[in-house]
């Protein structure tokens, strides 16, 4: 996995606009505000290659807080933004049902990962062989791949998407790590 180092994340101009952190009462303005937040969240997670998000803790940190202008998003506003990301397929609530406290951000949608994984397995001649999820994400075979180091929850969802298309079969193990997968050509 390409390390999350290098150039710092470039925040958009609106990140310095104080009202960006207050949920706008006007519905049209809010839709625009939410759209900009969704873009920012996905871009930020892509930059840092991060996928898990705990809402209550997150609002104290960038991108949901801006210390320079001393503004932070409220948890309930962030919850609405994540709801929208879920609608778009860019996030999924995780943790206990209906609490909406933690989520996974897919900076690349699972269906897209699915295509990438399948292509890689086909090119490497790894079809019809059982691989563990650990091997897939952390093995030397994929050290140069974008999905190297991808978290297991996202990986699992991507493979489930592939299974849904009949292009892979998942085998349940004792833990997520030794869960297996077989790709079909």
């Amino acid at each position: 996995m390409a390390a999350a180092t290098g150039a710092p994340f470039q925040f958009p101009e609106i990140y310095s606009f104080p009202p960006f952190f207050t949920r706008q009462p006007n519905e049209d303005t809010w839709k625009e505000q939410r759209r900009q937040w969704c873009d920012l969240v996905v871009a930020f997670h892509r930059h840092h290659r991060r996928s898990s998000l705990a809402l209550a803790e997150a609002v104290a940190e960038p991108p949901f807080a801006n210390r320079q202008i001393r503004r932070a998003l409220r948890v309930d506003t962030l919850r609405e933004i994540v709801d929208e990301l879920v609608n778009q397929g860019h996030a999924a609530w995780s943790g206990p049902k209906n609490t909406r406290d933690t989520c996974l951000i897919f900076w690349r949608k699972p269906e897209v990962w699915a295509g990438i994984l399948h292509r890689w397995a086909s090119e490497r001649g790894l079809c019809n062989t059982v691989l563990t999820l650990y091997e897939l994400a952390n093995g030397d075979d994929a050290a140069d791949q974008d999905f190297h180091g991808l978290d297991h929850a996202t990986l699992r969802r991507s493979l489930e998407a592939l299974q849904g298309q009949g292009k892979a079969q998942l085998f349940v193990g004792s833990s997520d790590e030794d869960m297996g997968v077989k790709f079909f050509p």
């Binding site: 606009f17 104080p18 009202p19 207050t22 049209d28 625009e32 900009q36």
Partner: protein, 248 residues
Amino acid sequence: MRKAVGIGGLRRQEAERQALSRKGDELARREVAKLQEQVALMKTKLEEFVRDHQRDIRNNPAIRMQVQRMCQLIGVDPLASRKGYMAELLGVGDFYCELGVQIIDICVATRSANGGLIALDDLLRRLALRRIRGSEPVVADDVKRAIGQLAPLGGGYRIVDFGGRKMVQTVAREMNPDTSTVLALAQQTCRFSAADVRLALGWDDGRIQACIDDMLRSSIVWVDAPAAAAPAEYWVPAFFSQLGASLA
């Protein structure tokens, strides 16, 4: 061709078909490359021609029209060199038309964020990002002229002045005079509170609230309420973008 029968015949037919299609592709590729070369040559020649025959083109509308048509046909952009010889010779009407389209494009795209009010400077900055690299910069006067040309379309585009700050307004409705007054008040700081308005203009609370509600409704201001206890402030994104541009 002799009628081919049997498996062997079918295979041979297939092989011939493939060979023909390969040959066809190759010919088409060569043809395209040749055409591209010719168009590039044509462009250079056309530019040379225009340079060499400036006076004739300027004085003879028929020739001017023909050159302009040729430019369009082969994709030489007279707009890209607006203040250069091409545009001067060919007339700049199309330039403002195209600029007008770009202005509408930007205004519509930013409308939900700024309520259809955009600082002239900000608009110029966004236009500059869209222009073809190396083309003459667009100046405020060009925008004014292009907006003038948009008038027949009835989009309500106009340039308004708030305390010396030029803004392009792109909503068809007439702006409430109270809104204009408050915007003029806020143009230095980008923001205002109800107390600021009361202090500066001496309005009563009802009038202030009605004005703020109206501005919120049309997305001209965004509310900033970091803490429930502190009074809210209202920010004008159109002014803020300009601030951002001058800092950048």
